[in-house]
Each structure stands twice: as C-alpha cells, then as structure tokens.
Symmetry: C2
Subunit: 340 residues, 2 copies
Amino acid sequence: MSKVTLKDVAAASGVSYQTVSKVLNKQATVSPETEERIWEAARQLHYRPNVSARNLRTQSSNLIGYAWQRAADESPRPILDQFLYNAVLRFEQAGYHVLTLLTGATEEMDVTIYRELYGRRQVEGFILADTNHDDPRIAYLIEQNIPFASFGRANDAWDFCWVDVDGRHGMRIVVEHLLAQGHRRIGLITWPEGSEAGAHREAGYEDGLAAAGIALNPQWIVRGENTVQTGAEGTTRLLDLPAGERPTAVMCISDFIAIGALNAARAAGLQPGPDIAITGYDDLPMSQFFHPPLTTVHQPIAEVSLQLAELLLQQINNKPIAKKGILLNPRLVVRESSMR
Amino acid sequence: MSKVTLKDVAAASGVSYQTVSKVLNKQATVSPETEERIWEAARQLHYRPNVSARNLRTQSSNLIGYAWQRAADESPRPILDQFLYNAVLRFEQAGYHVLTLLTGATEEMDVTIYRELYGRRQVEGFILADTNHDDPRIAYLIEQNIPFASFGRANDAWDFCWVDVDGRHGMRIVVEHLLAQGHRRIGLITWPEGSEAGAHREAGYEDGLAAAGIALNPQWIVRGENTVQTGAEGTTRLLDLPAGERPTAVMCISDFIAIGALNAARAAGLQPGPDIAITGYDDLPMSQFFHPPLTTVHQPIAEVSLQLAELLLQQINNKPIAKKGILLNPRLVVRESSMR
DNA sequence: ATCAGTATTGCGAACGTTCGCCCGAACGTT
DNA sequence: AACGTTCGGGCGAACGTTCGCAATACTGAT
C-alpha cells in the first residue's frame, strides 16, 4: 500500500521506467500491446505520480495562492466566500489547486507571505481581493513581476490585471431608482474615507444627484465602519435633521449597514418602504428575507471570479492578454424597502 | 532574480552546499564565523528553499486538504467559512497550509478526489465537514488508513477522529427555555430524515418534551430542505392546526429556516415573541439583527476547528491520541423572538 | 544483399533538497 | 611520543519524475 513508483510499474510490465512515464503522459510511440500492458500494470498497482517529484522536475507547482483577509471585527464576508468558491472551481478545471492563506492585521506583514510562497516556488501566482489604493501587496507583486490578478482596482497608474464591478454605476442606478420614486433628499451612509471601492460608489451617488440637478448636502453623508451599528446610528442622525433637510431615502454602501438602517427606521416609527426608502449594496443571500426585503445592488460574483482566473492563467502560461482591466456592471434589485 | 539554490549560496560563502543546508536548518556544528558567513550570503542572495525538492526528499508536503461542499441551491454556509478560517489559522501556526478542494454533487465521485490527492502525496491528511451517516468518504478514509478528522459524527461503530457540537443537548436547552416561558405545545421544523445532525437535534427535542411529561404530537413536526421557504411553509402548516393542537412555539433546526418562520408568523398577523415563540439554530452573524432578533443556539465553531486541527496534526505526527471523539456543548442565546 | 528510414524502446542526466557517514586537523590525555 | 576524542566540514547517495537523444529492430525500396 505504501508507495508505488514508476519503477514498480516498469518492473511489472517489463519496460524501463522512463518509458512508463512517457506512456502515462500520453507522449510515447509504443506498440499498442506494451501500451496496454503498462496501463494495466499501473491500474493494478494503483500507481499515482508523486507530485513533489513531478513539480521538481517540471519546475511548476500547479498551485494558486489566495490570501484571506479577515477584518478585526470577525465579520464574515459572504461575498468573498462565494467568490472563492467560483474561483476554485475554474482553477480546478485548469488543473490547478488553490492554497488558502491567512493574512494578518498589519499591512506590512502582508507582503512576506506572498514573497515566501512565491520564492519557495510553492505557488505560481496569486488571487487578491479587498484591494485598496496604494495597496502594498499590489505594489510588491508588480515590482517583482509575480503573476497575480485582483478583485478590485488600485492606483490608476499601476499596470496590472484586475476585475472589478463598477460601483460608480451601481450607486448611480440606485439614485435614479430613488429619483423615479419621487425622492429628492437622499442620504448616504458610507465607509470612512480612504477606501477605493467606497470612493467609486460615492462618486456614483454624486453623479446621480448632479444629473438630476440636486445640490449635494454634506449633512446627508454619514461615515462609519462596515457594521450594522453604523447603519443604525447613521440613520438616526439623518432622521434628526430638521424637517426641510431630512432625507426621505437612505442609501447604504453595504447590506450590512442597510440592515442597521432598517432597524433604526422602524425604531423611529417609520415603515421602510412607504415612509422612508432604504437601499443596500451587495445583495447578501439573506437580504431578500429582511423585513421588509431589501432593495440592493447585485454583483456578478461568479463572473468576476471566472474572469480573474482566466487572467491569471493567461499570465502563468505566457499567453497574450487582450485587456488587463475588466469592469463589470452590477444589477439593481428592487424590493420592498424602497417601494412606497 | 530567477532561482537561487543552495549551490549558489555555497559558492558565495565558500563551503559545500550540503553544509549550507545543515546550517540553514540549524542542525550543523560549524564555527560561528562560517555560520554567519552562510547566513549573510543566504540573505544577500535572497535564498528560499525549493519546496518541491524539499518535499521530495523528506517525503512530506505540509499540506492539508479541505473539500468544500456546496449545496445545489447555492446557499452559502457562513458557519463553514468561519470554521475554515479558524482551521487554517491553526494549521499555519503548525507550518501547514490548507488546500481548498471542491467536491461535486454526486457522493460517489467524492472519494476520487481524496484518493487522488493523498495517493499523489500532495496532502498529508484531510479535514471533513458536512458528514453524514454512512458517509462514503469516511468509510474510505478509514479503510485506507488516511489521516483525517471530521466536523460531525457518522456511524457510532466507526472508529475515527471527530469533533462535534452536541445538537441533542442544544435542542434540549431550547425546549427547556420554551417550557420556562410557559409553552406546552411546541412545534419543530426540521430537515428531511436521514441527516445525522438532524437526528441528534430531533432527539434533543424529544428528550425535552419527554422530561416535561408532554406527549409528542406527530403533527407538530414538519420536514423540508434547509431553506427559508421550508420555514415559511412549515410555520403556515403548524398555524393551520386546530386551536387546541396549534403550537405556541416553533423550534427551527436552523436559522435559515427560522427566518422563514419569522416571516410567515408575521404574515399571519402574529408578532414573534409575544404571540408566538420562534427559535433557530446556528446563530448566523445576521440572526441578531433579524426582526425581532432571533433566539438561537450558538456553536463554538472556533473551538471546533482548533480541536479538529489538533486531532489531525497528532495523527500526522504519530502522536498518541487521548480521545478520538470530542463533543462540545453549544450555548443558548435568548433574544426577543422567544420572549413574551 | 545493402541501405536508408521509421517504429519502439532504453539510457543518462537533471531538477534542489536532506541525510548519514567519512575524514582531516586540532586537542588534550596517558 | 603515541593515541583516542572532539570539532568542522565534505562527499556520495537518494527522493521520483521528465526530457532529449541514442540505440536497436524492423520495414520496404533499390
């Protein structure tokens, strides 16, 4: 049971072990009889190639690294899990496996794990997520010329492979939907400044208002971490504005925040939908079951991971890459939380 | 930049490459000066050991396989993600990395992926989740004597390493809580028969009723897949029972089902909590933000993954194992959905 | 009968480590 | 002055593949 090698198969079928290797890799010109004999022996002995030996010889590993970033607050990220699932799916089709790494809290340390894994030839490339402006990981990977592709953009000047969902467009269509519902005073609960994705989505909010000729009111914008509590406190603050300035609709930059907004609105005696419109962003699996069901923006996650995998595989195999950056469109999902 | 090997470091420091290996692995008796010279050269040249070569020589891979099962309905499993995160954390501390595999829909095919990966010496062991009675994967791994540890039990007669959360106890404390609230007619919405975890939880439900001297009413038990819809339909069915038999409390076997129950109860004009008690199981991150917040059972997931990793590492390193099965206690989390 | 040409298979080498054993020199001991 | 001991380090071998080229046998044509 222990370990059967090429030599064992060779001995069993009466040829040299190198010939066995060639036959098993379908790159030999041998007589049909010996070929069958070899295959039969391999089957009988349950031969499996040793990946370490193969990798050493071929100077490859067929492994992709994906570093999982976990926020300090332990909040899970259903989006990323779905993302990971689909990426793994694509990579396995291409004969690659995915190594799941963990990345610490400190940004500086991040780079070491990429450096080590690639330096040791353990992985052939990386998939990144949760990227940000001036992301040190991206800077490092570009500089070292290490194959990678990221979910999310970074600095515009940097030249690398990425796939992103157009948050600017996503937020804009939310605004347009709310305008169509007759809303004129629209609040926004968003993340702290400094987030690349956040900046794009905020731009979409501004675009939408500007297109409708509505002047931006700074008091309509509230910031906080990506928590339910932020949504609750932000909504309370917006509702405390004087009647003439108080928003009749609240856009949240994530479903997580939106659920806090829903709760706070109800606590204030308002029924989300008829009394105040509330929208989210991400379309978490649960969001359709909130009370009321949440209007939100759905991102084509499966498509993102597919394209990302494609980009990375092309780099690894030195294929020409048509377009390094791919921007996908999200889709508005209207539910009761924004219907009068 | 390409690839610097032991020989390069040896040439730079004027010793044989085997000596460099020993020094870098801290198992050499050399003079302090040469040692420092070697380290310095390794640092300057950015030497990183080639894992394939090392693995080939040492007959190890320092890799653990974890096969991710995805339900056909695409529903994500936040619990499992949290589980995976903590397991990876522990393994990385021990110098292992985790390979994330995908497992198809068909149960038979499952075994091949385990067979291949272990046979090719790509991984040294496996972590399993979502186990069931007569699980073919477990049967195979036991038979082949492949190191593994599973989240969840299987057949009692099988001897293998597992960690589980005591669902029987979990459901029982829910019953006791409801009894204390004055409920006597308690419904149960559960999975289809044939689930190991389901059977344990159902037993806890029965235990609790029996201890209180309440006869089990078959009509109180409704079954369906693990979806929100099941919860909604099940609740409606329970509420349709004649007044004398109609449950005043509905226990759900998962939070997913419970959210459907909450919605259906409200749709029937009942306020969850005062009018009808509803409980879940799992304590999803979102559950505390439902409307009303959901009473549920919290599982010590981080502890589960820690113990699981420990069990697997002990097997791999041929350490003696004190206890092959570890049963952890869950914790009741009382929220408004079950408070009058 | 000789020769080129092709079909089949063998062989040496290399990928980059780790491990056990050997060897020379320096040391102190009897 | 001869003899173990220890220290510092070198050397051969092996882990299991893949790959290019060499070698043999067999085919058909001249």
